[in-house]
């Protein structure tokens, strides 16, 4: 599909993919994608870890299948096709969680089926798996998933520590500490994320002063998650910035103009 997209990759080794997902392009800390689940489920470190690992499983498997099918799926219907693949895995994972980990299933609730609309998954399918061989795609999914899990666990741990004085259910704060319960409620999620984005901004500003390319570091995504593929978020991923979003966006028959309109206002 996207012509020479693959030629710019220097290395596709498994370790490089894992490093990329965990550090270089960490979906939460660097790219700030998939914010809805990030805010909603990080009320404790366990929930964050659970959500992260669930997403990782879906991401790795869907990346693998999409990569296997990348030469079969016609370009025009690729986004719906990706969505069907992703939604199938999400359904499987949801049923498995319901059966074997009911406590986690109850804690995550609605956000398990909503993994379907997580920008990271569709973004990876569009920007990586649909252009690369199976094994690197699988490891790419695992790397991104680990990065996401790591980030969610950290955010969850911070919120749990401040809001309840514990991490993973272990009491950590001294006895005199009065938990600031707002941090495990909805407003706390916004405040923690605000702190995180402020930190990110600071790092970016400092990096730019030193003349480094910090264009990848951005806060938030103004697009609809499902437009990820077309000029939405996926162009911020590694190697997908060669401007093919425009043409391929049109060819998918819908949302072609969405990205542009979004950009105009954004």
């Amino acid at each position: 599909m996207a012509n020479n997209g693959g030629s710019s990759y220097k290395s596709n080794s498994a370790t490089e993919r894992l490093y990329n997902g965990l550090v270089k392009e960490n979906p939460t800390f660097v790219l700030m994608l998939g914010m809805c689940p990030t805010l909603a489920v990080t009320t404790s470190a366990v929930n964050g870890l659970g959500m992260g690992l669930t997403t990782m499983v879906v991401l790795a498997l869907s990346n693998m299948i999409i990569s296997l099918l990348r030469n079969i799926i016609p370009d025009k219907v690729r986004i719906p096709a990706f969505i069907v693949v992703i939604a199938s895995f999400v359904t499987m994972v949801e049923l498995l969680l319901e059966g074997f980990l009911p406590a986690l299933y109850d804690a995550l609730g609605l956000y398990i089926p909503l993994i379907v609309v997580n920008c990271i998954i569709l973004g990876r399918a569009e920007s990586y798996a649909s252009k690369n061989p199976v094994i690197p795609s699988l490891f790419d999914g695992i790397g991104m998933g680990l990065g996401f899990s790591f980030a969610l666990t950290c955010i969850g741990a911070v919120r749990e520590l401040v809001g309840a004085g514990e991490i993973f259910g272990l009491h950590i704060m001294p006895d005199g500490y009065v938990p600031c319960a707002i941090f495990i409620m909805a407003p706390g999620a916004f405040f923690v994320l605000a702190g995180l984005t402020a930190l990110q901004n600071k790092i970016r500003i400092q990096g730019e002063k030193k003349g480094k390319d910090m264009s990848k570091i951005q806060s938030g995504c103004s697009e609809d998650c499902m437009n990820c593929g077309e000029k939405g978020c996926s162009h911020r991923f590694y190697g997908a910035s060669d401007g093919n979003g425009g043409e391929t966006g049109k060819s998918s028959g819908r949302q072609g103009q969405a990205g542009k309109d979004g950009k105009g206002r954004g």
Binding site: M32, M35, C36, P37, L39, A40, P80, I83, V84, A87, S88, V90, T91, E94, L95, G109, L110, P113, L114, V116, V117, C119, I182, M185, A186, P187, G188, A189, F190, F191, L193, A194, G195, T197, A198, L199, N201, K202, I205, S219, G220, C221, S222, E223, D224, C225, M226, N227, G253, R254, Q255, Q257, A258, D261, G262, R265, G266
Partner: protein, 192 residues
């Protein structure tokens, strides 16, 4: 019946606000809230799409998925139906209601399958709402979205001229604002 619907109306729009307490539809909430009028346009488009989508998803769930006993396929079916529906609405408005299309057209593709749209369809199933209740719930949720995005846009317009620390410019200060709004909306929990 009417009382039940009223309760749903208030709880979905104010008490359990879709953005500020459930974190659905966060992308447009943060992205399209720079100006009040674009925010209002987005809000109206969201009301339109969510109400329609919850009606269609409700009908499909009750008459197709339930009858065939394949409710486990709901996620896949809903997302495809919603994506197709928005596409269809866009074409329909373009052809038959050009003036409405002019007003909403820009926003429609942006909310094709916004997490909120799928989220409401799934919530309606989870809470075992019927079709009418589901539609009311969808409408109320979307109204809640509109209220919060318009308020945020208003605050952001005022904030333009404020002196904000360098690293808090842009997204961080918007998130702080959203957090404060979420605290304010917590006050509504006493309503019911």
């Amino acid at each position: 019946m009417v009382k039940e619907l009223l309760i749903i109306l208030i709880s979905s729009s104010l008490v359990n606000n879709v953005v500020l307490s459930q974190f659905l539809g966060l992308c447009p909430f943060l992205g399209v809230s720079k100006k009040t009028n674009t925010a209002a346009g987005m809000g109206v488009a969201v009301i339109f799409v969510i109400t329609l989508a919850s009606a269609v998803a409700g009908v499909i769930y009750q008459f197709v998925l339930k009858t065939l006993g394949i409710t486990y396929l709901q996620t896949i079916v809903f997302i495809l139906v919603i994506a197709a529906l928005v596409q269809f609405v866009e074409m329909f408005l373009k052809k038959f209601m050009p003036s409405l299309y002019q007003a909403l057209g820009v926003y429609l593709p942006l909310i094709t399958t916004n997490c909120a749209v799928l989220g409401i369809a799934l919530t309606n199933v989870q809470k075992k709402y019927g079709i009418l209740t589901g539609v009311v719930n969808g409408f109320a949720t979307a109204v809640g979205f509109t209220i919060s995005i318009v308020i945020l846009a208003g605050i952001r317009e005022k904030m333009e001229y404020n002196d904000i620390p360098e690293s808090f410019k842009g997204m961080p200060i918007v998130l702080v604002t959203a957090g404060l709004m979420a605290i304010a909306f917590c006050g509504f929990s006493g309503l019911l």
